[in-house]
């Protein structure tokens, strides 16, 4: 029999990367918050790869940090190797990526959530969402305890009806043998929520002592590490780093895979879920890219206090005996001892077009959803959505305006807009190519873009905000100064220019003009810039980027202005598309299904043409 246990403002279901951010945000905004997890030992678990960040994901982490989230700080505490990727390829795609000590990552995050005021963490499986009159009223656990609450955030990750598979072996469990949540799906279906079934996979973990590293290439971290969190300086986070290792598959590996493909659950039909194209299993790669002679394999440590090594690039769901042969065919892994087998995992998730941009369900007030459950993949994507869902659940209860970031403000905005606007049929991964204004959405300026917003929400404290304002001031003043400072074409100036392979000056030029030259940087002009005051590195970085890429940046700002016009044109929530005269049937159906919030969002729905948008504009105007 059910009974009422305790009341809360906000209830978070799941304590992974999304759940932790959601719970911390809600609690920090002063709401009584409870977070449920199937296991207290799996808080902020990293069940797949041991890294945080990477291309575009690193951007997400820095944005989370600028808004007052926890992920950046936690990886700064627990990284064991860090690199800035894409350093030669343009400032918009610089990407910070760190190897985490997985155990330590979990422990440190657990420490934070367990010590946050207003936040209760509880082990237990939620089986039901309680809704009355289209409004959330509480949740019910497996033990029939009812927790009345005003808002719920679903952060169930891959746990709903989770099933792990390799070969013909399958288990109804979540990752790492943790118990799956087998009841909540039905409760959600009863509420009219449409569910999908997705799959993803992970490679084997191998005992370090059984690996012959002499056959591999060692990969080091950066000498000077850039922190993820804007609250840390480079000096704060320097520490001794561990190495990763690179090796390759070969024809023998591919032959083993090819001759056993019929035993893969993907090909036998034993897996029905849709997998992601961007992180294919090794068997997928061998089939789809048959002409490639070898594939890279990255051997990455899972932590400082374990011998387990993650075999990046070789996720698989082939049977155990095939995995054994396959891994051992790779140079350096001839005698490999497998600690954990590779497996694929299937799980229930939602069609995220059922959500508003606030991540609240359109049809159920107070029910929010964030993370992998929304059809995304990746720790960072999950954390970003969890943060937004948690913030919005709290802001709603506080009677405040919701947080909606648009595509020109943040990767988080692109991520959420894509999820709620374009139906995704595979787990969604963030990519820099999805961000049309990426020159503006750089990882280096995430604080410039979002600190103000985080401060207004209440997740950035006064001290940090003041520091941010100071940084902003320094950048502006320094840019103004170098724009106005002229140097002549004298011997000293030309010596510096020539030493750096730059054309000497005949007449005067401003320092800014010199910095705009591809081969010159702000730092290189120190000698000839006599009135220069010492500035922090992050300020200098902004001066350099803003001046050097000014032309490109201005062009994107212009595009953004255009984009904002349609974005600011809101569509009333109660619009009846049947009343919109002369809208094409396909457009009508798509608009009805997704119910976009702005004309801009409507224009991004596939199947809605520019003419449909004109028709919609005229209709809106006539109302």
């Amino acid at each position: 029999m059910s009974y009422v246990y305790e009341s809360y403002d906000v209830c978070i279901i799941g304590a992974g990367h999304a759940g932790c951010e959601a719970a911390l945000a809600a609690a920090r905004l002063g709401l009584q918050t409870i977070m449920f997890t199937v296991s207290m030992d799996s808080i902020a678990l990293m069940p797949c790869n041991p890294n945080i960040g990477g291309s575009s994901k690193g951007h997400l982490v820095r944005e989370i940090d600028a808004l007052g989230g926890e992920m950046g700080k936690n990886i700064d505490k627990t990284y064991i190797q860090s690199k800035m990727l894409n350093k030669s390829k343009g400032p918009a795609v610089y990407s910070l990526r760190a190897q985490a000590d997985k155990q330590d990552y979990t422990t440190q995050m657990r420490k934070v959530v367990e010590n946050t005021d207003n936040l209760t963490v509880k082990q237990g499986e939620i089986t039901k969402i309680l809704v009355e009159d289209g409004k959330v009223t509480g949740v019910q656990t497996f033990s029939d305890a009812i927790y009345p609450c005003k808002a719920v955030v679903l952060c169930t990750g891959v746990y709903l009806k989770a099933r792990c598979v390799y070969g013909d072996v399958s288990n109804y469990t979540g990752p790492n043998g943790l118990s799956a949540a087998n009841y909540l799906s039905d409760s959600l279906r009863e509420l009219g929520i449409e569910l999908y079934r997705f799959k993803t996979g992970t490679p084997a973990r191998i005992d370090k002592r059984s690996i012959d590293f002499s056959k591999m290439t060692e990969q080091f971290g950066d000498e000077e590490v850039v922190p993820f969190s804007f609250t840390n300086t480079s000096e704060d986070v320097q520490r001794e780093q561990v190495s990763c290792w690179l090796t390759y598959t070969n024809q023998e590996t591919h032959e083993i895979i090819r001759s056993n493909l019929h035993r893969s659950p993907l090909y036998s039909g034993n897996i029905e879920g849709t997998g992601p194209r961007y992180c294919p299993s090794i068997e997928d790669k061998v089939v789809r890219f048959a002409d490639k002679e070898r594939h890279q394999v990255f051997i990455e440590p899972e932590g400082n206090y374990t011998n387990e090594m993650y075999i990046g690039g070789m996720s698989s769901s082939l049977p155990e005996d095939v995995q054994y042969k396959m891994y051992r065919s790779v140079p350096g892994l001839e005698n490999a001892k497998i600690v954990r087998n590779a497996y694929a995992i299937e799980y229930d998730c939602i069609n995220a077009t059922q959500l508003k941009s606030t991540l609240e369900f359109k049809n159920i007030e107070g029910l929010y959803s964030g993370g992998q459950f929304n059809g995304s993949s990746g720790y960072e994507e999950a954390a970003a959505q969890g943060l937004v869902a948690g913030i919005n659940a709290a802001l709603k209860l506080l009677g405040r305006e919701p947080l909606i970031l648009d595509r020109s403000q943040a990767y988080i905005g692109v991520l959420i807009d894509d999820l709620v606007t374009k139906e995704t049929h595979e787990p969604y991964r963030m990519m820099t190519s999805r961000a049309e204004y990426r020159l503006l959405l750089r990882q280096d300026n995430a604080d410039m873009r979002l600190t103000e917003i985080g401060y207004k929400i209440g997740l950035i404290d006064q001290e940090r905000y003041d520091k941010f304002l100071e940084k902003k001031r320094l950048i502006k003043e320094e840019i103004d100064r170098v724009e106005k400072t002229t140097v002549g074409g004298n011997a000293k100036v030309n010596a510096v220019l020539e030493a750096n392979g730059s054309t000497p000056l005949n007449s005067g030029a401003t320092l800014a003009e010199l910095i705009r030259r591809p081969e010159i940087t702000y730092e290189l002009l120190e000698e000839i810039d006599v009135n220069r005051n010492p500035l922090p590195k992050d300020v200098i970085e902004q001066v350099n980027i803003n001046l050097k890429y000014e032309g490109y940046i201005k062009r994107q700002i212009k595009q953004v202005e255009h984009f904002k016009k349609l974005e600011n044109k809101r569509i009333p929530v109660n619009i009846d598309y049947n009343q919109v005269y002369s809208l094409r049937l396909e457009a009508k159906q798509k608009l009805e299904a997704i119910r976009p919030e702005s004309v801009g969002q409507a224009s991004r729905i596939s199947g809605v043409s520019p003419a449909d948008i004109s028709v919609l504009l005229v209709y809106l105007e006539s109302k």
Binding site: C279, M431, A611, S614, Y619
Partner: protein
């Protein structure tokens, strides 16, 4: 909310020789100031009073484009409630198009179909009760433009643009794949091979751009079909009309014409002339197909030239043709008047009158001796200028729109080239490449959507 400045040809271009290029938006005055010159060269239109008319010339830099009357109207008392300029052009179709292009070159954008009406509505000029009518205008114009845009592209232009886009998308996808997965995909040395490809594509686009002016990009003009029974002299007529000095010689590689279709320019009027199979009753399947084709081309034609053989009696094949053309704008050409007459002008008119109550034009010609050809040409010109031939004039605007898109594509690729030569990082290439991809898509009616992400995944092996 709408601030950019749009322009289009506001009149049907087949009407009476005067056409109006209309400009609306906040830059209307600054644009006209750049291209208008009064007779004494001193008048600045933005300094003149609203709702006045000014005589003068349109110049593109130092090049005279047309002699015009310009009407200036300041917001809000205009059709769109924005600043509006109307340029009355006198020089005919080709020149009007040039005027529009000049306006676009100096900062306007070619209006989307129905956009003036839409603006008038959105700015409160048109009554709310007319919303449905406004939507109908937008719709009708859009569909028309869409059809025009694809149907009127010449030969394999669509394919050519597709190929350029594919090549661009492949390169962007490669760059993006490498940026997204730097540990699996290397970009070393890529900029050299990219530069080569960008230059090739630039060359192709430049050729396309040049060809737009000569009617090689789009089928501008009057679609004219020659009909008649076998041996009436259809092909000879085509050859006579196709004097060497007028024929569009497709020296541009790949602008292969549809079979048996020729384009001529008659004093600035473009005629697309299609020769057809001779029409006769037959059991032969192949011939039947030819006749069917002729019938369907006749249906879509703006103008029909029906060739009657005056040296033979009219027969059932002629009557079949007369039945085909009864509702169509037609000029009947009584050919072979250099031979002994078996069918008189009256015979033709009387028979034709049995099928139609409309006016019947008959011109006597001899394709062989070229007698009557000049008269035919004069009749054609007059019919055009008097607005007696209805044809798809949207195509002129579409062509300017396409030219602008090609130009923008060229600009984007030039920017890529410059970025490569300046040693900019790869990220910057892909932004401009993607822009080129997207603007070129407008020509062939394709949008971007998920193309890039799909391409990345299908062509490059990514990920853990």
């Amino acid at each position: 909310m709408i601030t950019d400045t749009i322009a289009a040809i506001a009149t049907g271009m087949s009407n009476a020789g005067i056409s109006i290029v209309r400009i609306s938006g906040e830059d209307a005055f600054s644009i006209i100031d750049k291209i208008y010159r009064s007779k004494n060269g001193n008048k600045i239109l933005s300094h003149q009073e609203s709702h006045t008319i000014h005589y003068g010339y349109i110049y593109d830099d130092s090049k005279l484009v047309d002699e015009v009357l310009v009407v200036i109207m300041r917001a809000p008392n205009t059709y769109t409630r924005e600043d509006v300029i109307e340029i009355n052009c006198h020089g005919g179709v080709v020149v009007t198009k040039k005027v529009l292009e000049t306006v676009v070159k100096y900062g306007a954008r070619v209006a989307a179909p129905g956009e003036f009406t839409k603006r008038a509505f959105l700015n409160g000029r048109i009554d709310l009760s007319q919303a449905e009518a406004v939507i109908d205008v937008i719709h009708a114009k859009n569909q028309y433009a869409l059809q025009t845009s694809l149907n009127q592209l010449r030969g394999n232009i669509q394919e050519k643009i597709s190929l350029i886009r594919d090549s661009i998308l492949h390169d962007v996808a490669f760059i993006e794949a490498a940026l997204d997965d730097p540990e699996h995909i290397e970009l070393d040395g890529f900029s050299d091979s990219l530069l080569e490809k960008v230059e090739q594509n630039l060359e192709k686009l430049n050729k396309l751009y040049e060809s737009a002016d000569n009617g090689r990009l789009m089928k501008e003009g009057i679609n004219t079909v020659i009909l008649g029974k076998p041996n009436a002299g259809k092909s000879s007529l085509l050859n006579v009309l196709l004097r060497e000095d007028r024929a569009i010689v497709t020296d541009v590689e790949g602008t292969t014409r549809d079979t048996l279709e020729e384009t001529i320019i008659l004093d600035g009027i473009v005629l697309n002339i299609m020769d057809t199979a001779g029409i006769r009753k037959t059991q032969d399947v192949v011939e039947q197909i030819g006749v069917e084709k002729a019938r369907s081309s006749a249906k879509q034609a703006d103008l029909i030239l029906y060739v009657v053989d005056s040296s033979r009696e009219l027969d059932e094949n002629d009557f079949t043709v007369m039945d085909f053309i009864k509702d169509r704008k037609t000029i009947i050409l009584r050919n072979k008047i250099d031979l002994e007459e078996k069918t008189s002008k009256n015979d033709v008119v009387n028979h034709m009158k049995q099928y139609t109550s409309g006016e019947v034009f008959v011109v006597d010609i001899s394709a062989k001796s070229k007698e009557g050809i000049e008269e035919l040409e004069n009749i054609l010109k007059n019919m055009f200028y008097e607005g007696k031939i209805q044809f798809n004039d949207e195509v002129y605007i579409t062509n300017v729109r396409h030219k602008t898109a090609i130009l923008e594509g060229i600009e984007s690729l030039r920017q890529v080239k410059e970025s490569i030569l300046n040693g900019m990082p790869e990220d910057f290439y892909s932004i401009d490449l993607m822009n080129a991809y997207s603007v070129l898509g407008q020509i062939i009616g394709e949008t971007v959507e998920e193309d890039l992400v799909d391409k990345i995944f299908s062509e490059f092996c990514m990920g853990k």
